[in-house]
């Protein structure tokens, strides 16, 4: 039974570019949440997807968008990257509002 998987593990982009990060939830989970974790800080909630809809959103600009597919996997898209977007991006899955399991994260570096 695979846990939460994310791809890629590392990514380097330049300012102004766009990036897509991917997440496959733990088997049986239907809810995916995305978090941004800057160095030395706690994870910050970006948004949550359930039944292919964005259910909740944190305090992030519209440059951050997402999608959930029928198989519950999810993508996080960030447009017009800037230096401050450099962070560890974490995906967490759960069954409804139950305990969430985090993936290993994608380390994004913006130069």
């Amino acid at each position: 039974d695979a846990g939460v998987t994310q791809s890629p593990t590392h990514l380097i982009k330049t300012r102004g570019q766009q990036v897509t990060l991917r997440c496959s939830p733990k088997s049986g989970h239907d809810t995916v949440s995305w978090y941004q974790q800057a160095l030395g800080q706690g994870p910050q909630f970006i948004f949550q997807y359930y039944e292919e809809e964005e259910r909740q959103r944190g305090n992030f600009p519209d440059r951050f968008s997402g999608h959930q597919f029928p198989n519950y996997s999810s993508e996080l898209n960030v447009n017009a990257l800037w230096l401050g977007d450099s962070a560890l991006y974490l995906c967490a899955s759960s069954l409804g509002k139950a305990r969430q399991f985090f993936g290993p994260g994608t380390r994004l570096t913006v130069l």
Binding site: S33, Q41, F45, Q48, Q56, G96, G103
Partner: protein, 110 residues
Amino acid sequence: GQQVMQIPQYQHVQEGEDFTTYCNSSTTLSNIQWYKQRPGGHPVFLIQLVKSGEVKKQKRLTFQFGEAKKNSSLHITATQTTDVGTYFCAQGDSWGKFQFGAGTQVVVTP
């Protein structure tokens, strides 16, 4: 929105000693979760507290939810080198959205 504050930000502990990290909120929390993140790793769920005054134990870890549900603590006894990492508390709303504190980074010296 609601925020949880964690203290201390940094904890240096001698192996074998006890320590406590605290999570405080200015508003009543519906629940509180605790996570551990090892260096270079991702947050791993430890426990969830829901009831006022609730106390839960996991081996050397004791978690407590305040009577007013505005604070929580994690107490570790007889610290070991495997306890190294950052401990986060997170408060959740009715939709399963969680807000994390800034964490307590724990360093253990032998």
